[in-house]
């Protein structure tokens, strides 16, 4: 009798009971979703990005549905790091689920403020640095689109925090591996990829963009092949670095694609909107696959896509 497969994973030295986590911004802080989801089955909750001050977000419309995806420009509406520490984190701790905090800002100083506030926060096992924010000090270019800006945010967060740092990378660059290198050289222990793909949709009857924010980030199955390719590229460049793979994962088959491409863990984003139980369904599906294929732990198949030559 073969022993049951082990779903737990090692993510930058953190033991998670499941490889399935939530994608930032697609699960809030877990409270609403807990009406449907057994949080104990999730590896970790990656919470919505938090900023120094509360951010109001963008005007509506904030979302346009496009084929196999959704385009959004929410503008990181959140109540700020203090609210997270006072309200959301104690609740998550009571639920007994590991927390990966996501931080964002418009300047390096803002990232430092949030990172310092999170230092030593109970239950925060890692911090994801969301660098897909406009950099006010560089003509609103996203931090994640520039190796130097990426380096400056990561090294600042590194100085403030002791827990592992994951840099959340944007696919909207010529070489994701180059930005990944800049993040890893400056204190990131791991990488989260990908963030949304920049896109635009236009209402031909009004002649206006469908989003009040004009352009937005595309998520959902439409971007999955892009995400799988990014994980594949970055894993090949940095095979020893833990990767949280995400981008349009709807089921366990999709999740396994990311693992075979090189992901250590997988994050579920847009699928939570459609089926609040997506995370646990993916978790169960991965377990079935491991049983069927005789896989004892996911580390043994990570990055094992069979590429000739």
């Amino acid at each position: 009798m073969a022993k049951a497969p082990d779903l737990s994973i090692d993510l930058a030295g953190i033991r998670l009971r499941s490889p399935v986590v939530t994608a930032s911004g697609c699960f809030a802080s877990g409270k609403e979703a807990s009406e449907f989801v057994d949080l104990k089955k999730i590896g970790a909750v990656v919470v919505k990005s938090m900023t120094m001050e509360p951010w109001p977000g963008k005007p509506t419309p904030r979302m346009a549905e496009t084929p196999s995806g959704m385009l959004n420009a929410i503008g990181l509406q959140n109540y700020g790091v203090e609210h997270f520490l006072a309200v959301d984190l104690p609740w998550l701790n009571r639920m007994g689920v590991p927390v990966i905090a996501s931080i964002a800002g418009n300047t390096v100083q803002e990232y430092i403020y949030v990172a310092e506030m999170l230092r030593g926060a109970p239950g925060v096992v890692a911090v994801e640095v969301n660098i897909s924010c406009p950099n006010l000090e560089d003509r609103n270019n996203m931090f994640s689109h520039d190796a130097k800006a990426t380096a400056s945010v990561l090294s600042a967060a590194r100085r403030a925090l002791e827990v592992p740092l994951f840099a959340k990378l944007s696919p909207n660059v010529t070489s994701v591996a180059e930005i990944a290198g800049a993040a890893l050289d400056n204190g990131a222990q791991g990488l989260s990829l990908i963030n949304t793909v920049m896109g635009m949709a236009i209402d031909i009857h009004t002649g206006k963009p469908k989003l009040a924010g004009v352009v937005g980030g595309l998520s959902g199955p439409a971007i999955r092949p892009i995400a799988v390719r990014c994980v594949f590229d970055v894993f090949r460049a940095f095979p020893h670095v833990p990767i949280i793979g995400m981008g349009g994962i709807m089921n366990s088959g999709d999740a396994l694609e990311f693992i075979l491409a090189g992901a250590t863990a997988v994050a579920i984003g847009t699928a939570n909107f459609i089926d609040p139980n997506s995370t646990t369904k993916v978790n169960d599906g991965i377990l079935e696959y491991m049983k069927d294929k005789g896989v004892n732990n996911l580390a043994s198949i990570r990055g094992r896509v069979k590429v000739e030559g």
């Binding site: 809030a28 009406e35 005007p59 904030r62 959004n72 929410i74 939570n272 459609i274």
Partner: protein, 306 residues
């Protein structure tokens, strides 16, 4: 470009309303279609066997339906609850009404009896039924009249006077005027093309109707422009207006922040972005910051999205 926008702030200490998003009665289930019917020219009615949802659903709440699988549009569509039948020869059912706006609703219109759908509900804060106000005017714009049918039933059950005022572009877009006449002490219809009832808009006849009916509370659902105008008329007459707001939604249970409305805080010195799905869809009309919407209302998509 239209009106100047107020600056929107978010301040956790003045959140409006308290909105934890917790809703202990919401469930997700596979539910069977009991029947499908076409109403007049433009609207479709689905009767869904959903005993648990029917048991707890209140007027103004909605359900979020996942369109049939393997289509290019993947998100759920929110639908106001039109009627609830708790005692039938079949298990308890709910009814939803929709019009076809795009691929998603076209797929729903292709559903037939015995088909299964994935449904989440009941969602949202319902209409409040005040104890001390007895004369209620229900104002519905086009398909916005949907949640007012269930509301009318509850109000009548609570012994209230109910008057109805439905407006639409044209007669075929007035929702079920026959039933509306049945439960309305007064039932007035307006159409912009004059094809039924009074030619014009609901706001053209509201002043007279409020006086004639001795209205003490107004309930409204429809396009934003109508809700804003109805709210202003209510304010002029010092009658409270509860509005059920429409919004594009991503998730429908409070996590994606797509469906926010600009709402004044209690002290009216800040506007905050409040989720329609779990903190609404029913709001006090006087609290909505009507000047803060995108200047062209046609940019805003309507309730059921596409």
């Amino acid at each position: 470009m239209g009106r100047e926008r107020n600056r929107v702030v978010v301040d956790a200490s003045s959140r409006v309303p308290s909105g934890t998003g917790r809703n202990p009665t919401v469930i997700q289930q596979q539910a069977q279609i009991l029947s499908y019917k076409k109403l007049r020219d433009d609207y479709f009615l689905l009767t869904i066997v959903a005993p648990e949802i029917a048991e707890t659903a209140k007027p103004g709440q909605f359900v979020n339906i996942r369109p049939p699988a393997d289509r290019q549009f993947i998100l759920r569509r929110p639908f106001s609850i039109y009627k609830v039948n708790r005692r039938g020869e079949w298990a308890a059912t709910i009814e939803v009404v929709f019009d076809v706006r795009g691929g998603g609703t076209a797929a729903l219109a292709s559903l037939r009896a015995h088909d299964m759908i994935d449904i989440v509900g009941p969602i949202g804060r319902p209409f409040a039924i005040p104890k001390n106000r007895n004369s209620c005017l229900l104002v519905g714009g086009g398909i916005g009249a949907v949640p007012l049918f269930y509301l009318a039933e509850e109000l009548k059950g609570a012994g209230k006077r109910v008057d109805v005022l439905w407006g639409a572009q044209t007669a075929s877009k007035l929702l079920n005027p026959i039933d509306a006449k049945r439960f309305g002490a007064q039932a007035v219809f307006t159409t912009e093309d004059g094809s039924e009832g009074v030619k014009g808009r609901v706001t053209d006849v509201m002043d007279d109707l409020l006086e004639k009916c001795g209205t003490e509370v107004i309930y409204a659902c429809g396009p934003n422009g109508m809700l804003e105008a109805v709210t202003r008329i209510g304010q002029k007459h010092r009658i409270p207006v509860q509005v059920a707001m429409e919004a594009l939604m991503g998730c429908g249970y409070g996590i994606c922040m797509t469906c926010v409305q600009p709402v004044w805080n209690k002290t009216r010195d800040q506007i905050v972005h409040v989720r329609t799905c779990v903190d609404g869809p029913v709001f006090n009309g006087a609290r909505i910051a009507w000047d803060n919407f995108a200047s062209d209302p046609s940019v805003r998509a309507s309730p059921a999205g596409n």
